[in-house]
């Protein structure tokens, strides 16, 4: 089981984990299971400023193309270059090597959910 301590989630199914100055962003286990086989990601350029909730890129699975949103605001310092050749990492390890971008100068978003609240939110969605 990956370490989800301190991880927070957006209702659009991205996660963010802050470690000192840097925030790492990815998508949740639930999101990857809903998307199915990820085959391509369109990611922002380093240096790009994102607001919380802004579109950060596109994730494509065999089934469909979906927008990705940044759970917090900040400046992009890195996009996961490994995903270019291995988009399947998002499926295999969404909280680890399937991370998507890193941000600095983070502006927090009070609307994010902790893991327990996110799990309850997902539970509610899958029964609606």
């Amino acid at each position: 089981m990956p370490d989800l301590t301190g991880m927070r989630f957006a209702e659009t199914h991205e996660w963010v984990k802050q470690d000192g100055e840097t925030a790492t962003v990815g998508i949740s286990e639930y999101a990857q299971s809903q998307l199915g086989d990820v085959i391509y990601l369109e990611l922002p350029a380093v240096g790009q400023q994102l607001d919380a909730g802004a579109r950060l890129g596109v994730i494509e699975s065999v089934k469909a193309a979906s927008d990705l949103y940044s759970p917090v605001g900040g400046e992009v310092t890195e996009a996961n270059a490994e995903l270019k050749d291995h988009p399947e990492y998002v499926n295999q390890d969404p909280y680890g090597k399937g991370w998507i971008i890193k941000l600095r100068a983070v502006k927090d978003n009070p609307k994010l959910l902790d893991q327990k609240a996110y799990d309850a939110f997902v539970e509610g969605q899958s029964h609606s």
Binding site: G36, D37, I39, Y40, E60, V62, K63, A65
Partner: protein
């Protein structure tokens, strides 16, 4: 109104195997059991098992009626043989694409798309002399696809029939795992293999026997997700995506399914369209970057929309992204550069011949 999706006799098997289910053509069908990528590779490299029971089956005894509604000259079809054909409306638009089986009793079996079966049946009955000329047996029959390089060997171990004598696009009556079946050497994946028709009551027994016996072959159940990526690589059109009632068979590149020297519904319109020249043609293309073309995306040239993508996805076998699109005939030659409008930018693509993928050693 709540329309409940129909379940095939294998529904419980799919749930037990942990399939993610989806609605398709009025049926609740397995989308994937593991991942689409794994199921796709299993079919290309070993063998995959498909529930195709949603497909429709129409029995027609009246040969003149079959001749009238289908694009092919079925009088040339020997019993035990199968042809791919289209069903057209008066304007030459495609109502459905079908497989027609010449049955030993001289009647015909049409295997039609799930979502079209009721419409096809009504259309055919409308042109029949007798009210009972056609019978819809789709809901009485299950259909199981066994596809991949290991498929023939696997099915042979479960049947006394000599499968070497069942050529591509031929069929025999027989038993597989002691279940009475029509054993049809057809498929929608680009691989060798069979499609097995059996009664609903026997479907679970046949499905389980194939999964059990196929274990040593590396068999995997495969869902509609893999079925779509496999058929696209094989250049096979999907009704509703790549063609519909507004498309004629010439535009769809299905000239080879037309016997224009015989009379059939839509023939005159198709001949007129051929004389006038086509406004658009279906082509295959490959992406020259990593972006993914999708159904409905525009084909652009110098900023102008000149066509439409009808199917597109990753090709797991080839390692690049592929699609089919309608383009003006002047842009249909292999090697022609196209732009695909993906989120406002023209992604580079190149017309390539269909099919994208051909299996290495056809038997």
């Amino acid at each position: 109104m709540v329309v409940t999706a129909a379940r095939t006799p294998l529904y419980e098997e799919h749930v037990r195997l942990g399939a993610q289910m989806t609605n398709f053509g009025g049926w609740v069908m397995p989308l994937q059991y593991s991942t689409i990528r794994e199921e796709h590779h299993a079919v290309r490299e070993a063998v995959g098992l498909f529930d195709l029971s949603h497909m429709g089956e129409l029995r027609i005894g009246d040969e003149a009626l079959v001749q009238r509604v289908l694009s092919r000259d079925v009088t040339r079809l020997r019993p035990g043989r199968i042809q791919y054909a289209v069903l057209c409306n008066d304007a030459g638009g495609i109502i459905d694409d079908v497989l027609v089986y010449a049955m030993p009793d001289r009647g015909y079996l049409l295997v039609v798309n799930a979502g079209n079966q009721d419409g096809d049946f009504d259309w055919i009955r409308k042109h029949a002399q007798a009210a009972d000329a056609a019978r819809n047996v789709g809901r009485e029959w299950a259909l199981i696809g066994v596809q991949g390089p290991r498929a023939v060997d696997l099915v042979q171990r479960l049947t006394p029939s000599d499968l070497a004598s069942v050529k591509y696009y031929a069929f025999v009556d027989g038993t597989v795992a002691d279940v009475s079946c029509v054993i049809s050497r057809t498929g929608y994946t680009g691989e060798d293999g069979f499609e097995l028709f059996c009664g609903n009551a026997d479907a679970v027994r046949l499905w389980r026997a194939l999964l059990e016996e196929g274990r040593s072959d590396g068999i995997r159940p495969a869902g509609l997700g893999a079925r779509d990526t496999l058929r696209l690589e094989a250049g096979m059109r999907l009704y509703g995506n790549d063609m519909d009632a507004q498309t004629n068979p010439l535009e769809a590149g299905l000239d080879w399914t037309l016997n224009l020297e015989k009379d059939f519904i839509g023939r005159d319109a198709i001949m007129t369209s051929r004389q006038r020249g086509l406004a658009r043609q279906l082509v295959g293309f490959k992406m020259l970057d990593r972006s993914i073309p999708r159904h409905g995306y525009r084909i652009v040239s110098d900023g102008e929309g000149v066509g439409t993508v009808t199917s597109g996805n990753v090709s797991f076998t080839l390692g690049y992204n592929i699609g089919m699109a309608y383009v003006p005939p002047a842009m249909s030659e292999p090697g022609t550069r196209l732009g695909v409008d993906i989120r406002g930018a023209a992604a580079p693509a190149e017309v390539v011949p269909l099919p994208f993928y051909k299996r290495p050693h056809p038997k």
